[in-house]
Symmetry: C5
Subunit: 305 residues, 5 copies
């Protein structure tokens, strides 16, 4: 995620936006080259009496803009839902921790164990969504044999929920909490289960391949044909205007592609590491631990991962 300080509107016009720019750089260059070549051979091109006008491109351009707008909405909705799920992960960790701390006032062991389980769950979900091996991070928070068991599952996070569920049920059996309080704590586990399922859904169900393919293809075909239609109308301005229009369409296509997989590590993806770090500090301060981790800050390129 890019976290950039506020800039003056003028400075901002020339801000170098690494992520998308570096991706579409080569594509715009291709477009520019095509325009320049066309401009070079214009007198020959003109002699062909090719009657290609801008009108059909205008129609098509607007149609593409409408479809691209729709695709942007769909990608943006996925991004927002993913962020919301991770937001409610933070909320649930805090609330569950608050209830456990206040319900077991003398007990320090119980909140600590649950804190570790929760942190294991958060980091494990993070690593699972980013296809990183989870065993190491599990070792940080749970006993080695448990970590091995959890790691052997199809969904390690779900096994962690089972372990937390067992912990809560044990307290009920031991008479420490009534059925009503069990209901309360269990409700948070159900919400964690919902968060896990929601994240898996977003990660495993891409926007239908045909959608992105049709648009991707149409955008590129459009940008490639554009100089042929522009050259009759605006001659030497063709390279400028062609690259400008292509920039608008291709960058939005590229951004939609990036946003639709919000759990990646590209510049516009969610800062899962930073959220995990926040949760860790938060739970640490709630249980009153002394050695809490440092707060993560954006790097020099204003990026949080």
């Amino acid at each position: 995620m890019i976290v950039r300080p506020h800039q003056h509107w003028f400075t901002r016009l020339f801000a170098w936006h690494g992520s998308v720019m570096s991706k579409i750089y080569s594509r715009l260059l291709l477009n520019l080259l095509l325009s320049l070549v066309l401009l070079g051979v214009y007198s020959w091109y003109e002699s062909l009496h090719v009657k290609i006008t801008l009108a059909p491109f205008s129609l098509l351009g607007i149609a593409i803009a409408i479809f691209l707008g729709f695709r942007n909405s769909a990608s943006w909705a996925r991004y927002c839902e993913a962020r919301q799920l991770w937001g409610s992960l933070l909320i649930n960790c805090r609330s569950l921790m608050r209830e456990v701390i206040t319900l077991f006032p003398g007990d320090t062991h119980y909140p600590q164990s649950l804190k570790n389980d929760l942190l294991a769950f958060c980091y494990c979900l993070n690593y699972q969504l980013r296809h990183k091996p989870v065993e190491e991070v599990l070792q940080r928070f749970v006993e080695p044999p448990v970590a091995t068991l959890v790691n052997a599952q199809q969904t390690p996070c779900n096994r962690l929920l089972l372990i937390m569920g067992e912990r809560v049920a044990e307290a009920r059996r031991a008479g420490k909490i009534s059925d009503i309080l069990y209901q309360n704590l269990n409700a948070h586990l159900n919400q964690l289960s919902g968060i896990l399922g929601g994240c898996e859904r977003i990660a495993n169900t891409p926007v239908p391949f045909a959608y992105s393919l049709i648009l991707h293809r149409t955008v590129y075909a459009f940008c490639t044909l554009l100089p042929f239609a522009l050259i009759n109308q605006i001659h030497v301005f063709t390279p400028l205007v062609s690259v400008f229009i292509s920039y608008t369409f291709i960058s939005l296509d590229t951004l939609a592609e990036e946003l639709e997989e919000p759990f990646g590590t590209e510049a516009n993806d969610l800062a899962l590491d930073a959220i995990c770090n926040t949760i860790e500090i938060e739970l640490c301060q709630m249980t009153g631990d002394s050695n809490c981790p440092e707060k993560m800050h954006p790097d020099k390129q204003h990026r949080l991962t």
Copy 2:
């Protein structure tokens, strides 16, 4: 569902997207033929002094794009809701199982029976939505007489819920669980009932026939008339541009048609079999069974059913 590995933007332009392409192939060919014929008889066509311009088509094209954008949103919303319902099926199966396992720590029979009921429910819902006979799949998970009884109902899945409800109520009557815990378990059954009803709603309520018909017709009429208007403007480019514009409109019309019935087995439909498989492995690992099924993987065309 198509699950495709990430591709370079250039390779991707030429990716063969079986599903939609194979469907609209013939339609685009017809369009191409029409353009070519028109080009062949152009001198005669010109002599008719037909004054058909692009302007009214431009107006109509944008209007169609707006309506098509609306229809795409409606189809996409159905697809997303369907996916969300199946996602919460997984979530509820996990949560219900977690609660049962932790509430009956010594008992292995009770969780096993509920696991079988849940799997019967999932597979039965899958088969019902895809209009496949459910009896066989029921036999896998429940006793033959129960399977026959369930199969005889209007909605077999609902009878399975009644059976699970009976199982939970029995535990309450036997004093194994209090009313509060009954409330917890029953809440999951209510959510399964909501999932069943939601899926039936999507399956039984098509997007109003008039919507798809009006658009389907308008798109085809538009694409058919297009070459007549283009030929005066761009002459030999007519086949190329006409097929290009038709591709954009017809493929989005076709895709919307495919997405609006998300429970089918076409390329862009939901991978219900894979979700059932995931649930089966998940519940199997939770109860600690030794012989869990294999994980399903996409076939060579990157398809999951």
Copy 3:
């Protein structure tokens, strides 16, 4: 509701879609006539040197398409919400019935009475929304004096909820169910109350009259002026293109009008009778009755009411 079997894309182009077509038939004919008359007197019209061009119509056409797209979304949202409410009616009837059957295992009378109350509620809501007299349908499910009492109310359905509430409270007073179980059953009654209120809201709050009026008027004025602008540009094609554009705009205006009142009995309205029939069979099979009603099927025009 139209439930049509899947058709080949080509056959589908020529499908006769009774509902909308029969409504807009005369309006398109008027438009065709106007175009033909204009074509007949073209030489005289030309001599007037009327300088009416397509450009302002193009602008207006796109603006209308945007506003029509907005209105379609609003109507479609109403339709979907109405369908969702009736879907959750089915879900709640099933869930309430399941809980009652499993909580009163020996008792056959109690579930039967509640089943009749629920069916009376469903049919009564259906008839109320379609402005049909409810007394007769009440007689089918409840005692005549109760039917008379219920029928005398401003909202008969709400009185039925009060009767069901009384039945549930009675069981609590008699000690058959604890307060917790009362809470469970009562929650379903609250949801039925929400469904009732939601349906009334949709039925009693039309889309602001000004919206539909402004658009209705603008669409017709636009279609009437269109031939005057087209004739200079495309001459003999005017009738064809004018009717084509009018078809797109008028049919979408008409469909939005139909969808925005989803409880009517027009072709694109919800199949309330079929949903009531489904609920009746469902509850009947759950209580194990022998003489359940027949399943309703679409008529020859593929219509379900």
Copy 4:
């Protein structure tokens, strides 16, 4: 709110829609005058060789239509949410009343008191939202000293909730209802609190002033400049087409303005009085009172307030 009987599409074209028309009447007239003046001095205007074409207006017109479409959606969403809040007010009053009546079967005093509190709450919310003095309406339902106390608060409705909360807590303290039942009744009060807060939010947070101002201004500037661009293209048709386009844009701007404050008393605002009347009859019939008020009907202009 306008509740109009269904009309034939043709009759409807000429329906006089008081509310919006009477507001924009003068503005359209100004536009017409401008066009006519311009037409009168056309030969002089032509001699100036002013090269103003429709192209930039076309671009701007479509941009305005897109932004206006967005603003319409925002206003419509506010209107729908406001209606939904008042719909759930009816739902909650019914449900709370049903529970109280069935839980205190012999007691007639308790339901009566709560009914009066609820009605005071509904009418008070209505009057507060419409900036009318609430004291008089409070006197109708509660004791004079209570009415005075309630009226002295920043939010009289919230004090009424406190009074109802006190009533429910009293019943719990007196042992008439268990904590579980208290939870049930209290949940309805929380929902009433949510309705109150939701209505206040809509009433106190206008659509950002800049939004409506930018659009308002742009629409008028656009309509004023339009005749200058049209006159070169369509000459004598300028007044007709200019007024027509202005009608479309200005009426939608005006309607959005009206819908975005749904609690007013303009023609397209919500019929709060009618909803209060419905709730009063409903609760009156539930408690079996004999002298219930008359049902409110639309006046001769089909208006409900």
Copy 5:
């Protein structure tokens, strides 16, 4: 937030809208200057035979309008969600206070302490979101040592929730409230936790930088190139029309930028201070305190902060 009295449509056209205008003033001036310079050197410019037409700008303008419409929707959704969260903060404070007051009828100390905690939470959230130091405001409502402890946390608001949770758990341990009532009160704390997390999410997750950058840049490039294309078509009207079109695009870009950070103190941001003030008066009147603060009113520029 701007709270402006209703104005006549004509007066409103000339309303000075400080916030956005003062920001885009200089940018429009630059645009005007460019147009004027271009007009000055027109004869020379014409002699260059630069063939730049409006057609590609028309296409691009509509595409930008579509993308800008999308971005406006995204910003508006953030603004509305932020407002909704603060609305539900008010709702929850009222409801929690109502329950506490009615459950502890004799006790005045308990409601007072909770009131102070709640107010500390509200003001602290306000100050945290606006990056103002929270210690001073904490001192107003809680004991100095507590204030220091709270202030030392990563998220002071969350520590306040822990303190309130402790207070509620204490009442349960002391037998003043049953587990059911604890569940009720705790549910409100969970909602406060949700509000806190929701606000943090909006504050910490900007709209992807690439989105605003791509649009920002495209809008400015478009407005800068516009005069070059307009001058051939409308000559002396270029400055007027160019500034007009730029006003529409740039002001909407600027407004979207302002709305997407709803917790700031710019003119169109949320009036957090006023909401805190409302909550303070409300809770003060509920507990019957005599010295409640004054109600905040908009300043002379109709602004509430």
